[in-house]
């Protein structure tokens, strides 16, 4: 026989998990309901973080695609002398001399309207603007064509037009074969291409683009630039921005408005952070509700399982063993709820991102983080009932049986 001094009550961790699971099996419905609170809370947290991260990632990707190196120059609004509003014809060439500038291109506005046919009344413009465009516009803006081709040095001289994505939709044109023509100004223009949406220059989406020579020849437009697009060395964008107004319009630099299209996106990305806090707080409230649910289940379990506690004490369980068992049950519950919540949150994120044509982005720390949050909730909710169970006098627990 062993010396009594060397004997200790022992409970193997595997057995902790086993009796914890067995305990939960006896109250399945109750356990399922308790788990639901944690599931909802964790799902909300994961979905909120996942969706806003996906949206942010798609904006960042968009920003990357656009580049932050694009600047635009437009005439300002001078109410005193309207002619001063125009940017000088030489502005693009002058800007091209600034060393970090890599591309300069421009559009010229016209007063012409574009209609599906000549039978459509002239005032029904559909909000489409007709712009003269340099042949290098497409490359400078990284714009893509959905159909057809872009203006080249030949087609720019002829009555041909490339429609922005929105403009094509407004006119009801979604194919180029057989040949499609639109009534532009006072003549038919052949549609040779349709653009995809241009993120960096959304104003082009509602535009009909014709060559600069064509604008001059057919519409009689003078070629003062309306918008000058400038691509710079990315590291020098801020420096270029500083000198751009003076270069574009040396006589009246205050009338040249310089902007950076990516700024709007950057602001949107920054605003995603603020959006998070409120929703995260809502998710946290759901978690607190889940914690109360688990605590409730544990307190109920301990009242209903006094006999079991007494039996275990009689079999040699220490107070610690009892506390560990009930804490383990709370942890198993919260881990189950947390895992279900993580799964639901990921599915929500993927579904939402898919609907928005984003790629779903789950930050790598989100899953362990969410699981840790669920376990922390389980531990917090389960610890006090577990300690109460451990403090129960074994005789009281056994007396409940008779």
């Amino acid at each position: 026989m062993l010396e009594p001094d060397t004997k200790h009550s022992r409970l193997h961790p595997v057995d902790v998990a086993r009796i914890g699971l067995a305990g939960l099996r006896t109250g399945r419905l109750r356990a399922a309901l308790a788990v639901l609170g944690i599931t909802v809370g964790i799902a909300a947290l994961v979905a909120i973080v996942g969706v806003s991260e996906s949206s942010k990632a798609s904006l960042v990707a968009q920003l990357d695609r656009l580049g932050t190196d694009l600047l635009t120059v437009q005439p300002g609004t001078n109410f005193v002398d309207v002619t001063q509003n125009e940017l000088p014809r030489r502005a693009p060439a002058m800007i091209g001399w600034i060393p970090p500038v890599r591309h300069v291109t421009q559009t010229v506005s016209t007063t012409a309207a574009v209609r599906r046919t000549d039978k459509v009344p002239p005032y029904e413009t559909g909000g489409i603007t007709v712009l003269g465009a340099s042949t290098d516009l497409l490359g400078a803006l990284d714009a893509r064509l959905a159909h057809g081709s872009w203006l080249n040095s030949a087609t720019a001289n002829y009555p041909t037009v490339v429609l922005g994505a929105g403009a094509a939709q407004t006119l009801g044109i979604n194919h180029l074969e057989p040949l499609v023509a639109v009534w532009l100004g006072q003549r038919w223009f052949t549609v040779i291409g349709i653009l995809r949406p241009v993120a960096v220059a959304p104003e082009l989406d509602q535009a009909a683009l014709i060559g600069l020579p064509a604008a001059h020849d057919f519409l009689g437009v003078d070629t003062h630039p309306t918008t000058i697009y400038v691509r710079t060395d990315p590291s020098q964008t801020v420096a270029v921005r500083g000198v751009l107004a003076r270069t574009a319009n040396p006589a009246n630099p205050q009338d040249a408005v310089v902007s950076r299209p990516s700024d709007a996106l950057a602001a949107e990305i920054a605003s995603k952070g603020a959006y998070n806090t409120l929703l995260l707080a809502l998710g946290a409230i759901a978690l607190v509700v889940g914690a109360v649910g688990i605590a409730n289940v544990m307190v109920m379990a301990i009242i209903q399982r006094r006999t079991e506690i007494g039996l275990r004490r009689a079999l040699g369980a220490t107070r610690r063993h009892i506390a560990i068992q009930f804490t383990a049950e709370a942890l198993i519950l919260s881990a189950l709820g947390g895992s279900a919540g993580i799964l639901a949150g990921i599915l929500t994120t993927v579904g939402y991102a898919h609907a928005r044509h984003w790629s779903a982005t789950i930050p790598p720390t989100l899953i362990p983080g969410a699981l840790a949050a669920a376990l922390t909730v389980g531990l917090t909710a389960g610890l006090w009932p577990a300690i109460r169970a451990a403090r129960l006098a074994p005789t009281d627990a056994l007396r409940a049986t008779t």
Partner: protein, 233 residues
């Protein structure tokens, strides 16, 4: 030889102001190999005595030795270890784990003894054979009769080879015939060397034990039996 359990002037008082003295200066010794029945009317202190002998309750004063070991200075983990290794319990209403098989229930008798699950199940199988339930190992408690359930509970108490088995009304919930069978099992286990103390109301059970301790108002008023008589002399 070391007695299985030894009580010296054990006193148990419940409450502080309006107190009740459940046990009054009880001294008794149970030697290894004995079968002792403890009888007495309700409120005579026999359940308190059993709980104190089972280290589930600490005496207010007096000393208790289990397997030769004084218990007054022991911590909760040390007392728990005594229960795990030295003591086995049988309760009136069996107290089995509802969804678990007879084998699992018996194996739980070793759950806190640091024995591997495989070894626990192996020992449980052996003991179930010993109590005549080897054909019922996979049955869960609701599939077993009252007598079978009590056999499972007895097997669970025995599986750790305890120094002393404490039984609280082991036949209390059973009809006469089944009760007699359980009693026969207990006496045959005692004949095989298991030391046992059992609380009972049943005169047949008391009569079957070689030694009977009678209690009233927290005192031992009679201690009849061959061993006890020699000790008294």
């Amino acid at each position: 030889m070391t007695p299985a359990i030894e009580l010296r002037e054990v006193h148990k008082r419940y409450g502080t102001e309006a107190h009740v003295d459940a046990l009054k200066q009880v001294s008794l010794t149970i030697e290894t190999g004995e079968l002792v029945s403890i009888v007495g009317p309700s409120g005579s202190g026999k359940t308190t005595l059993l709980h104190i002998m089972g280290a589930l309750l600490r005496p207010t004063s007096g000393t208790l030795r289990i397997a030769g070991r004084p218990t007054s200075s022991l911590s909760d983990p040390e007392l728990s270890a005594l229960r795990a290794y030295e003591l086995g319990f049988v309760f009136q209403n069996y107290v089995l784990t509802p969804g678990a098989s007879a084998l699992e229930n018996v194996a739980d008798g070793l759950l806190y003894c640091g024995v591997s699950r495989r070894e626990r199940l192996r020992s449980a199988h052996e003991v179930l054979d010993r109590v005549g339930l080897v054909a019922r190992t996979t049955h869960i408690p609701t599939q077993l009769s009252g007598g079978e359930r009590q056999r499972v509970a007895i097997a669970r108490a025995l599986v750790g080879n305890p120094t002393l088995v404490l039984a609280d009304e082991p036949t209390g919930n059973l009809d006469t015939q089944t009760g007699a069978a359980i009693l026969a099992l207990l006496t045959s286990l005692n004949a095989d060397g298991v030391t046992m103390a059992l609380i009972t109301h049943d005169p047949d059970v008391a009569a079957a034990a070689p030694r009977t301790i009678e209690m009233r108002d927290g005192r031992v008023i009679a201690d009849r039996g061959t061993d006890a008589n020699t000790r008294r002399a």
